[in-house]
Symmetry: C2
C-alpha cells in the first residue's frame, strides 16, 4: 500500500534538492525520457490495450462516454505528439534562476528578484495518459517536484509511462528519487487535497465536475478552470461578415473545447439584419439553438432558453442567443453568467471595444477574433500548464512561469537597519 | 444588523464598476481622504480615547498586552504618518491598465497582457486603526473593492476613520458606494472566510495566531505570513565584525518585528573564536540566549534550547544559538525549522553565498546584511501590502502589484482558428 503522506514528504525534500539542478542536466534528462518513450512504444501500446479492453466493457455498459474512451486511447499520432512535446519543453528557455529585476536600494546594497520553482505540484487527471509526460516535462523543466494522480481507467498505461520515465531518470543520479511520483487509488484524492503542509499547488486536468470538486475541497491553491462559458457580443458597429465567421469558428471548430462559445449576444439593432443570417449559418452547421423571447418571436421554431442555459457550458454543437439593448447589458450579462474565461466583442468601433475589454472581468477579452485562440501555444508560450480563471497567481492560458514563483536576494556588506533609522544612511528614492 | 453576504455582493458589483475608474480620479480621491483626516483629527483622537479607556481596563485586568494597547493608541505622530502614507500612495505610478507585454502572434493578431485589479479584497486586522487608511488607499489605488474587518478593541476609532473616508468619497460619485466596507462583529470573521464566491483575496494583519486561524479556515487565497522565524548563518568564511553587527541589528533593532532574527547558526570552526564574542555582545544588549549542547559546554551559564525553540518566533530579546558542521547542515536546519521568511548568510566566500541563497527556500535570502531589511519600503516598492511566505502569487514584501492580476487582450480582424488548423495561416515562432 502506498502511503501518501510519506510520498508527499519525500516530494517536499526532493523539491529542495532540486533547487540545485542545472539547466543542462534537466534538458538532457528530458531528451532521455523522450528517447526511452520512443524505444518502449510497444510496451506502452500493450498496456494501453489492457486499459482499453476494460474500458470497452464499461463503454458497452454505458458507464463511460465515447469521448472518455477516445481520450484514453493512445495511437501512433498521440505518442509522436507526446515525444515531440517533451523535446519541445527541453528547447524552451530556462524558467528558473532568471533575474526578474536587479537594483541598488542604497549604496552597496543590491536587490535581485529571481525566479524559482514553487515546490511540490500535485496533478490530478482523468483518462488522458498523455498528461503524464507533459506534466513531468513541465515540472522537471521548472525544478518542481510532482505528485501525479491518474484515473483508475488508465492505470496500466499510466504505470507503463511512469516506469519508463523513472528508469530514464536513473541515468541522472543528481535528480532526487522523490521528484516524480505516481499514485493510484481513488481514496488518494481526498488525502492529497488535505496535504497543504507539503503540497504547494494543485493542477486538475479533467472534467468540470472533477475541477469543481477539487476547488471546493482543498485549501491548497488550485490552478485551473471549472467552466468555460465564453461569449461573443455582436456590437451595433460589427462587421457582419466577421461576426458570422467568428461565431461559426468559435462554436463549430471544436465544440467541446473550454474556449468554444456558448452564448452569442446581439445588439438589438441587428435583430432583423443579422440574426436570421446567423441562425441560418448555425443550422447549416447542425448547431442547436436556444434563444430569448425576442428571437423566438421572429423564429418560432427555436427553443426558448431557460435561466440555467445562460450559465451552461454545452461542450456541444449548441448555442444560446440573446438580444441586448446596448453594450452595458452585454457586459453585465457576461459578468453575471460567464465564467471569466474568454469573451469577445465584434465591432469596428474601437472605443466600444476598449470599453468592453476593460469592463468584462475575464482572463481573455477579445476584439474581432474567435474565442478558440485562448491557448498557451497560440499565445506563443511554447508550453501550456492549463487555462486558469483564478484571480491570483496566474490567469488565462498559463505557460511555464505559472509553475514558478520568485525569491528576493539581497547582497550587502555588513549593513544594518539601525544606520538608516538613525539617519546616518539613506535609501535611494 | 449587518448582512455580510449583501456587503460582499455589493463589493463584488462595485469591483466591476471600479474597472472604469481613471488614474486622476483615484488620486484626487486619495488626496481628499488625506485632507479630511487632517481636518477631523480631533474627532479621531476623541474616538480613540474612548477605545483607550475600555482598553486600559482590559490592560489592568491583564486581558490585553502592553504592546496591543500601544498599537491601539493613535498619537499626533501616527496620524501624521497615516496622512503622509495616503499622499504617498497617490504619488505612486498607476498600477492597473499597465501593458505588461505586447506582441503579434500572427499577421494582424496582437496580444496584450494588461494589469488589472483582483476584485474584492478582505482585510482582517487587530488593534491597529492606522491599517484602515493604509489599506483603503492601496485598494483604491489598485481599483479593488475592500471589506475591512477590524478588532472590537478599536471599534470607535475604526468607525470614525471609516466615516471620514466614506464622507470624502461622496465628492466622487463615480466611485461606487460598495467599494469600501467596514464590518464589526466577531462572528463576521468566519462568515468572511466562507465567502469564496465573492471574495478573491484575504489579507490578515495581526497576531500570528490570527493569521494561522485564517489560513486554516478558508479556501480563499490568503496573502501573508504567520511566523517569522528568521536565521543568520555565520559561515566559516565570515567577516566576524560584520557577523556581530548584523546579528545585533537583526535581534535588537526591533525584536518584535517579523523580520528580526530568532536563530543564529555558527560554523563549528568558529566555536572558540567567535561564539564568545557574540554571546558577550548579546548579553551586553540584554538578549536572553538559548543554545545547543556544544555551546552549553563552553558557556555553562546559558540555557539549553529544546526542540520547540528552533521553530519559535520569540518576538522578544531572545535568540537561539546552534553550532553546525557545514553549510549543508545550516541549509537543512533552516528549511526544516524556518518559516520561509528571511534568512541570511554571513560570508566573504561568494560561492558559499550563492549556494546558500539558492538552496534556502525562503522569500528573502541575504548575504552580509541584516534580516531587518525585509520590508516593502526598504526594497523601494513605495507601499507595502504585507510580507508573504506564500509559494504562489506574491512572495516576500508585497507592493501594489500584489493587489493586481492581469488579463489578456487579443485584437484581430475576424480571424478564425480553423485557418491555422488547416494550415492556411501560421503563428509566428
Amino acid at each position: 500500500m502506498q502511503d501518501i503522506i510519506s510520498i508527499a514528504k519525500s516530494a517536499k525534500d526532493a523539491s529542495i534538492s532540486a533547487l540545485s539542478l542545472s539547466e543542462e542536466l534537466k534538458n538532457n534528462a528530458l531528451i532521455k525520457i523522450a528517447e526511452e518513450i520512443e524505444n518502449n512504444k510497444e510496451l506502452i501500446f500493450n498496456s494501453n490495450n489492457m486499459d482499453l479492453q476494460s474500458a470497452s466493457i464499461l463503454l458497452n455498459e454505458g458507464k463511460i462516454s465515447n469521448s472518455m474512451f477516445n481520450r484514453l486511447k493512445l495511437d501512433e499520432n498521440k505518442l509522436t505528439d507526446m515525444i515531440q512535446g517533451i523535446k519541445d519543453v527541453a528547447k524552451l528557455p530556462e524558467p528558473v534562476n532568471k533575474i526578474l529585476f536587479e537594483k541598488n536600494i542604497a549604496v552597496g546594497i543590491t536587490l535581485k528578484k529571481v525566479s524559482c520553482p514553487i515546490g511540490v505540484i500535485a496533478v490530478i487527471f482523468e483518462a488522458r495518459p498523455d498528461v503524464i509526460s507533459q506534466i513531468v516535462s513541465l515540472c522537471l523543466k521548472t525544478s518542481n517536484a510532482v505528485i501525479l494522480k491518474g484515473g483508475s481507467e488508465a492505470v496500466n498505461t499510466n504505470k507503463a509511462i511512469f516506469d519508463i520515465i523513472k528508469n530514464s531518470l536513473k541515468n541522472f543520479p543528481q535528480i532526487p528519487e522523490g521528484l516524480i511520483n505516481l499514485v493510484f487509488s481513488r481514496e488518494d484524492i481526498n488525502e492529497i487535497l488535505s496535504l497543504d503542509r507539503y503540497i504547494d499547488l494543485i493542477i486538475p486536468r479533467g472534467s468540470n465536475s472533477l475541477v469543481k470538486y477539487i476547488k471546493e475541497n482543498t485549501k491548497i491553491p488550485v490552478l485551473g478552470h471549472s467552466d468555460g462559458v465564453c461569449h461573443i457580443y455582436i456590437d451595433e458597429y460589427a462587421d457582419l461578415e466577421k461576426a458570422i465567421n467568428v461565431c461559426i469558428d468559435a462554436k463549430c471548430q471544436y465544440p467541446s473545447a473550454c474556449n468554444s462559445v456558448e452564448t452569442v449576444l446581439v445588439h438589438k439593432s441587428l435583430l432583423n439584419l443579422f440574426v436570421p443570417r446567423l441562425i441560418f449559418k448555425l443550422i447549416e452547421n447542425n448547431v442547436e439553438i436556444l434563444a430569448d423571447e425576442n428571437i423566438k418571436n421572429i423564429f418560432p421554431s427555436v427553443t426558448v432558453a431557460c435561466e440555467a442555459d445562460w450559465s451552461t457550458e454545452y461542450s456541444d454543437k449548441k448555442v444560446s442567443l440573446k438580444i441586448v439593448d446596448n453594450i452595458n447589458e452585454a457586459v453585465n450579462h457576461i459578468n453575471k453568467y460567464g465564467s471569466g474565461h474568454t469573451d469577445c466583442i465584434i465591432t469596428e468601433n474601437n472605443d466600444n471595444a476598449e470599453y468592453f475589454m476593460q469592463m468584462v472581468d475575464s482572463a481573455g477579452v477579445y476584439q474581432n477574433i474567435s474565442t478558440r485562440f485562448a491557448d498557451g501555444y497560440r499565445y506563443g508560450f511554447g508550453a501550456e500548464v492549463g487555462i486558469s480563471t483564478n484571480k491570483t497567481h496566474a490567469r488565462g492560458p498559463v505557460g511555464l512561469d505559472g509553475l514558478t514563483i520568485y525569491k528576493y536576494k539581497l547582497y550587502g556588506n555588513g549593513d544594518i537597519v539601525d544606520d538608516f533609522v538613525k539617519g546616518k544612511r539613506k535609501f535611494f528614492k
